[in-house]
């Protein structure tokens, strides 16, 4: 069954020409831009999302300069910034308004344009149909439209940087009434972009769920699904059901901005010292409820696919079945349900009432249980394994403590009394970045290194990969760990001067509190670490492109000796994926099966 790559190439080009004789391959546009093939769409999602990931990172690096050296012109590209943003970056100095814009767009881009499309759009598209033995997604054309909506939403967001008045500047959460009170059309662009992105997610979610339910190959029962598929399945439901309320909220805020309604604007709202000319009667709290109704399930949209990838990589590189596969599946389902009733733990300080806070505090503590179950299962899976320390495995292994740290530091935020102190500080930033950056992004890197040979037919370079890994791991921690300390000492987020205004040195005589010089000096340290983290990504970028043409050619369709179905196709898989529909006869992780001739038995092989 182990066809060599060269063989399958020949195979593909001969037999498939006949198969596809009636199926017009079309020109470049049809093959790469308007393709309905899930693999091409997956790559489109992946590359677009990686570009946005870099862009979001660049925004933050510029902001980090302003935080470390407030009021100083940005070196090297300061002139360019002044050219593009005019008075907002006068003489290359980032103004607080521009800082706010970059902050809002950093969050928006990272969450909605980088991580979700990469984790769900790219990996889901590429891997899920292959892993379940399907020829494509259930609705290939809707899949294409989904990507196009995503791209359109991204373009709207990008264009908004250059409109008069600049882009959205009310944070990625866009709280009303702030989001309606700021001047300019940035917020309108933001909302329009969001509606497009939400539409894209919705179409994608319908497609994924339908595909997983309907197109599983014969014999692929629910408990034979690779864990990654389960993770994507639950993620699909989260996107399907959590995003529409934000769409509704977006429409209402759009009406507030454009039609002059008062959905989220209270009676007696004063803007710039003058009573606003509105009917009033609206509720700012309503926006927060609707936003976080999406916002919290969204956290699990960010993390579940990464956990799925890590599980695949860990099982493959320990050469052992996942320990507690079923518990992991049920825990994932539990997370899916509970994640819909925890949202208001983001809102303890809004004055919504202590009884409601207590309810959401309780559910928040409950949802940590299934998360811990999953993580524990993966940890125990390592026990007694003959671990192969290749690049994907290194990233997957680092994911575990990093995500663990991010998760555990979330507990004090989930208790409403300790949250009073920590709310809106750098502690919060450190917490969720530990979850998403060295957590999710490491998981995604593991996925890129792991599935790259399936797409490109060549391996990524191991040495560059290891350099990338170790430098990223070190710098990630240097960036985010000091933020815990800053946050606990009371440094607020969203301040363009990095807290200098509240330093003890500047405080008036007799005032209490203030930030010590050491806390403020940490800003420069963190900023340098962030720029170091950027340098650490250079090996990855080189590796990613260089390996397309120069990487080591794979010698078989299954270079990692894996059991799941995506490795039982030709490399790269042709349109339609499988040469014949696979018959699944066993579970997803039959590694080191006693009595088997090799240490792995693919799902579609008898032994």
């Amino acid at each position: 069954m182990q066809t060599t790559s060269a063989h399958s190439h020949a195979h593909g080009s001969d037999e498939h020409h006949e198969n596809h004789a009636h199926h017009d391959e079309g020109g470049f546009l049809k093959k790469y831009v308007f393709s309905t093939d899930h693999k091409v769409i997956g790559v489109q999602y992946g590359i677009t999302a990686l570009v946005f990931l870099l862009l979001g990172f660049i925004l933050m690096m510029l902001m980090r300069f302003q935080i470390a050296y407030p009021g100083q012109p940005i070196p090297i590209i300061g002139g360019l910034m002044a050219h593009f943003f005019g008075p907002l970056a006068d003489k290359g100095i980032m103004s607080p308004t521009l800082y706010n814009m970059f902050g809002a767009m950093h969050g928006t881009i990272m969450v909605f344009l980088a991580i979700v499309p990469l984790a769900f759009g790219a990996f889901g598209n590429l891997v899920v149909p292959l892993q379940i033995g399907a020829p494509d997604m259930a609705f290939p054309r809707i899949n294409m439209v989904s990507y196009q909506c995503f791209a359109a939403g991204g373009i709207v967001m990008l264009v908004s940087f250059f409109i008069p008045g600049g882009t959205a500047q009310s944070g990625w959460t866009s709280y009303s009434p702030l989001a309606t009170s700021v001047e300019g059309h940035g917020q309108t662009f933001w909302l329009t972009g969001m509606v497009l992105l939400i539409t894209s997610s919705l179409l994608g979610a319908v497609n994924f769920i339908a595909t997983i339910i309907q197109l599983r190959a014969p014999g692929m029962t629910w408990m034979r699904l690779p864990f990654f598929v389960w993770a994507q399945f639950v993620t699909g439901f989260l996107l399907l059901l959590a995003f529409p309320p934000l769409e509704a909220a977006g429409l209402m805020q759009l009406a507030d901005n454009v039609l002059g309604t008062s959905f989220f604007l209270p009676t007696g709202l004063a803007v710039g010292g003058r009573l606003a000319d509105i009917s009033g009667g609206g509720s700012p709290l309503l926006w927060q409820h609707l936003f976080w109704f999406l916002g919290h399930p969204e956290v699990y949209v960010l993390i579940l696919p990464a956990i799925g990838i890590v599980s695949e990589v860990v099982a493959n590189n320990t050469r052992k079945p996942l320990w507690g596969y079923k518990s992991m599946v049920y825990a994932t389902l539990a997370i899916g349900f509970i994640s819909f009733i925890v949202w208001a733990h983001h809102m303890y300080l809004t004055g919504m009432g202590t009884k409601i806070s207590t309810f959401f505090q309780t559910t928040t503590m409950i949802i940590s249980i299934p998360s811990v179950i999953i993580l524990t299962c993966i940890f125990i899976s390592l026990w007694g394994g003959a671990i192969r320390f290749n690049t994907p495995m290194l990233f997957a292994l680092a994911f575990l403590p990093m995500f663990g740290l991010g998760g555990l530091t979330g507990l004090p935020l989930g208790f409403n009394y300790s949250d009073i102190h920590l709310h809106d500080t750098y502690y919060v930033i450190a917490h969720f970045h530990y979850v998403v950056a060295p957590g999710t992004i490491f998981g995604l890197f593991a996925g890129i290194y792991y599935w790259y040979p399936k797409v490109a037919g060549r391996m990524m370079n191991e040495t560059l990969g290891k350099v990338h890994f170790w430098l990223s791991l070190i710098f990630m921690n240097l960036v985010f760990f000091p933020m815990f300390i800053q946050g606990m000492s009371g440094m607020l987020r969203r301040m363009s001067d990095g807290g200098a205004m509240y330093s003890t040195a500047k405080a008036a005589a007799g005032s209490i509190g203030g930030l010590s010089d050491r806390m403020i000096e940490l800003n420069a340290f963190v900023s340098h670490a962030a720029w170091g983290l950027a340098l650490a990504q250079i090996p990855f970028i080189i590796n990613f492109f260089w390996s397309i043409s120069h990487g080591k050619k794979v010698t078989s369709d299954n270079p990692w000796d894996a059991t799941t179905l995506e490795w039982q196709t030709p490399t790269p898989p042709p349109h339609g994926n499988f040469l014949k529909t696979p018959e699944v006869v066993r579970g997803p992780y039959d590694y080191s099966l006693p009595g088997a001739s090799k240490d792995f038995v693919p799902q579609n092989q008898n032994s």
Binding site: N19, H23, A134, P135, D136, A138, F139, P140, I142, L202, A205, V206, N207, I209, A210, I213, Q214, L215, L240, L241, A242, F243, P244, P245, E247, A248, A249, L251, M252, A255, L259, G260, T261, S262, F263, T267, I278, S279, G281, G282, S283, L285, L286, H289, L290, F293, H575, G576
Partner: protein, 263 residues
């Protein structure tokens, strides 16, 4: 390459792909409208006393529109059933009625919108509140056909009392107000208060669904009808799926009507 279960149902799920797809899509639609209904509740609970209008809309017109939509829901099923019996002509008849109903619904709704956009409230500099339909508006003068209301218990309450739903029914008369006396003038559009805001958002979004559904049903009925000859089973499935969407649109209205018109 053929994707399985595009026409025939999969045995263990009992569904073909598109039918599962539309059910999932409708689940997300439930969340979309659910969020708006929740917003309605939050806004209404949070409204100041006397500022949430009740019975602002014309109930008989709303009832007629409800009947129109229910009729269309019946014909959509009958049309699908006719196709199942291989009776294309009868299917076409029923679905044409469905589309006519959609037109009727949107027409009546447009009339109601027009009525609200020409309905004005004027607050004068000396604190009086006038309410009525606009007859004339130029640089010097605004003429309304309406009445002065007592806004002491809240403007919305005053309108309800004066407009005939309370005991103090007042006849409409022509009121002339000088532009220079006007402190604030505005129609009953979305910006009037939170009730009109949520009213226009909910019915507007629902109206878009009606139009979208009618376009899809119309497309299947006329330009896309060739599939009936080439692939009748798949064609019938399309009719079923579009019908499921149409029932959902109908169902949303069944909730909208009491919430916005009666309560």
């Amino acid at each position: 390459m053929d994707i399985p279960y595009t026409v025939q149902p999969r045995r263990d799920t009992g569904l073909y792909n598109a039918k599962l797809g539309i059910w999932l899509f409708l689940a997300s639609e439930v969340m979309l409208f659910g969020a708006l209904f929740s917003s309605y509740i939050m806004l209404r609970v949070g409204a100041d006393i006397g500022e949430w209008p009740q019975r602002l809309l014309n109930v008989p017109i709303g009832t007629v529109n409800t009947l129109v939509l229910i009729t269309s829901s019946v014909t959509v099923v009958l049309g699908w059933a006719a196709l199942k019996q291989n009776n294309f002509a009868r299917y076409r008849l029923y679905q044409t009625i469905t589309i006519l109903c959609a037109f009727g619904f949107v027409g009546i709704k447009s009339y109601e919108y027009y009525d609200k956009f020409t309905h004005y409230q004027v607050i004068t500099n000396d604190g009086k509140v006038f309410d009525g339909h606009l007859i004339k508006r130029d640089k010097e003068l605004v003429v309304l056909s309406g009445f002065e209301i007592d806004a002491s218990k809240g403007k919305a309450h005053g309108v309800m009392e004066a407009s005939g739903h309370g005991p103090n029914h007042k006849p409409h008369k022509e009121i002339e107000i000088k532009t220079s006396d006007i402190k604030k003038i505005g129609n009953y559009g979305p910006a009037h208060n939170t009730y009109t805001a949520i009213y226009f958002t909910l019915t507007g979004l629902h109206g878009l669904h009606v139009i979208g559904g009618a376009l899809v049903i119309g497309y299947i009925l006329w330009p896309g009808a060739g599939m009936w000859k080439t692939d009748p089973e798949r064609y019938t499935n399309r009719v079923e799926v579009s019908g499921l969407f149409w029932h959902f649109v109908d169902l949303v209205w069944i909730f909208l009507f009491p919430v916005l018109y009666l309560l």
